[in-house]
Amino acid sequence: MKPPPFEYVAASSAADAVEALRRYGDEAKILAGGQSLIPMLALRLARPSALVDINRCDDLEGLAESGGVLTVGALARQRDLEGWARTRSPLLSEALGWVSHAPIRNRGTVLGNLVHADPASELPALLLCLDGSVLVRRKGGERVIPADKLYLAPLTTSLEFDELAISARFQLPPEGAGWGFAEVARRHGDFALVGCAGVVALDGAGAVSHVRLGFFGVGGTPIRSAPGEAALMGREPTPARIAEAAKAAAAALSPDGDLHASADYRKKVAATLAGRVLASAFSRCGKSR
């Protein structure tokens, strides 16, 4: 028995969970898949006085696509998204394969991954690249937090302590868009040393009409690259321009170095991965989302 003592609250609905969050103030943590929270308890990195378990809240289940938007409920497991993505989103499908291992994805939730806000995690960067958002609810009200306003620092989001993440929305890429994804990790399923994702589309004249370029593992939060995107938007994506965009994107990053990779190495890898991601994204344009 490793976790520190806590009070266990089994919420039966989202309203129930929200009420518990209000009652315990900032002393409570939501327990969904628990694949990050339980290790943090075991290592005593987190010592919440209460765990609010939402696994029995039927109203938080579900994963549905409608009008080009994918809505993922708080209890949808990463495995559920994987199953959906297999036929509907090769980008999400590819990215999920890099999220830890099957036994973790069987239990871990998509939303938990998103709001845990690990800077090396794949899905937060995907939320950014797919113009996503998270719907949160507190006692007496709801609000939508767009992905670019969600991530503040490592393991820190703009959710207030009494807010429960209800669902996430991913905007599916426009028809004919191309995608790319690349990651470097020490072993399969390890935290990314550097990761990159991209979505692009071309107009009738062959110029870039839509471009999203995101990175993870190279800063305190996932990053959408304004300079990388600006170097391509409205232009024809020649190999030289792609190389220029990748270089500009990597130059704007300021990753930290650690035991596994120096800051300089991460930057170099980011430039290489961005070049590959963009090249494969443009090569897939017009084929599938």
Binding site: L31, G34, A102
Partner: protein, 167 residues
């Protein structure tokens, strides 16, 4: 703080009061004496404690015992059919020297049960990707890969899949 839980483990209904801090791995080993589920890192990295939870492999150290209430768990003790026979995956591990000290083996076999259901004829790359979620500190991975490939062949021959049934 204790709570009563009702869990179906290896087909048997178990009712017990558990401390809410207990993990499912603690519950299986200490309350039910099912010590075949091994506990290594206790924070989800090593894969030794992997069990089938409602038919899917999951880390027993990353589920609280109280969360298992109303669910079904299959451990290594429930893999083989009743009697003395071993499961074909276990047979393959013995035949191919897939286990050395044996510490990581139960977790790998539980993962393999589900993996081979989804990948009836896996490539070596797929097997290795699956094994990335399991640490073998004897580092005998080559034999483990061969054992799982052998198990896939054996299961293809026996036809309809034997217990445990995986979703």
């Amino acid at each position: 703080m204790k709570r009563a839980v009702h869990v179906k483990v290896n087909g048997t209904d178990c009712e017990q009061a558990v401390d809410v801090r207990s993990t499912l791995a603690d519950f299986l080993r200490e309350d039910l004496d099912l010590t075949g589920t091994h506990v290594g890192c206790e924070h989800g990295v090593c894969g030794a404690c992997t069990v089938l939870f409602d038919g899917l492999p999951m880390r027993a150290c990353l589920i609280l015992a109280v969360q298992a209430d109303g669910h079904e768990v299959t451990t290594i003790e429930g893999v083989a059919p009743p009697g003395d026979a071993l499961h074909p995956i276990q047979e393959a591990f013995a035949a191919k020297h897939g286990l050395q000290c044996g510490y990581c083996t139960p977790g790998i076999i539980m993962s393999a049960c589900a993996f081979l259901k989804e990948h009836p004829s896996p490539t070596e790359g797929e097997i290795r990707e699956m094994l990335a979620g399991h640490l073998c500190r004897c580092t005998g991975y080559h034999f483990i890969v061969e054992a799982i490939a052998e198990a896939a062949r054996a299961l293809a021959q026996v036809g309809p899949r034997p217990a445990p049934d995986v979703k």
